[in-house]
């Protein structure tokens, strides 16, 4: 039986404390890209009780995504924002989710993320990562931007770290493992990196903007 809203939040308060839970509940986080990074980040944040997520991706679920992204076999062909939103609501029925089935560009990124306290970059391509980080730092300096670079391959998970680049810019990953070097992407290593980004988001919301 699905717990009531009160039951659900009381259980979260028991784990996180009332003060932290209030901060999570009042927060809005935008996730740009809903692949291996974004779908895992979203699940961490939904489970923690972040009040609102803005999910943005232009793509549909593909069979090649299932090895590392939080979709199910029967969701192949669905738009990723819709599929992920459904999965998140099964985990946390009381979360507010805004979905955008569009490609993020320099032109639309500020409008798409305008309500977010934190923007999580979760793209696949290096050029798109750079575009988003530059756009937020240049045009929305009041927001936090969390980004990931270097989580491909089968190397040690311990090489993945989060660095604070500047006051509101954090970077997770090993900085070097490029998927374009033909080294593949393994669910566990991508998930470690996604968890770094999600964990940093939650720490920032708790007022601990340090690594």
């Amino acid at each position: 039986m699905t717990p009531t809203r009160d039951e659900f939040y009381n259980a979260l308060i028991e784990r996180h404390g009332a003060e932290n839970q209030k901060k999570f509940d009042g927060a809005t986080v935008a996730i740009c890209g809903l692949g291996g990074l974004g779908s895992n980040i979203a699940i961490c944040l939904a489970r923690a009780g972040v009040g609102k997520l803005i999910l943005i991706d232009f793509d549909k679920v593909d069979i090649s995504n299932l090895h590392r992204q939080q979709y199910k076999a029967d969701q192949v062909g669905m738009p990723k924002p819709e599929a992920l939103s459904n999965n998140l609501k099964e985990i946390n029925p009381y979360i507010t989710i805004e979905t955008h089935n569009v490609k993020v560009t320099e032109e639309n990124v500020i409008e798409l993320t305008k309500d977010a306290d934190i923007v999580c970059e979760a793209f696949d391509k290096a050029e798109n990562k750079a575009m988003l980080v530059n756009a937020i730092l240049e045009n929305a300096p009041e927001k936090y931007i969390l980004s990931s670079s270097g989580m491909a391959g089968f190397g040690s998970a311990n090489l993945i770290k989060t660095k604070k680049i500047s006051k509101r810019f954090f970077l997770s990953g090993d900085s070097v493992s490029d998927v374009n070097d033909g080294i593949g992407l393994l669910s566990s290593r991508v998930m470690v990196c996604a968890a770094h980004e999600a964990h940093m988001a939650l720490r920032i919301l708790m007022g601990e903007a340090t690594v």
Binding site: G36, G38, E127, V133, S149, M151, S175, D178
Partner: protein
Amino acid sequence: MVKINGEEYQYDNKQLTAVLEELNYDQTRIAVEINEEIVPKVCYDATVLKDGDIVEVVSFVGGG
């Protein structure tokens, strides 16, 4: 002397674009901060490094 990603270089009075080219950065895959302030891409040509500048060049790789 300027510091780029923690290493010291004699790039005083040198244009940022020239420095990025010399260090082989792909300008489509980077974000540059000088003294913790973002440098907009359109300003790379007009930005000249000065003694004591702390430069961070974040170079992104693919995968996500």
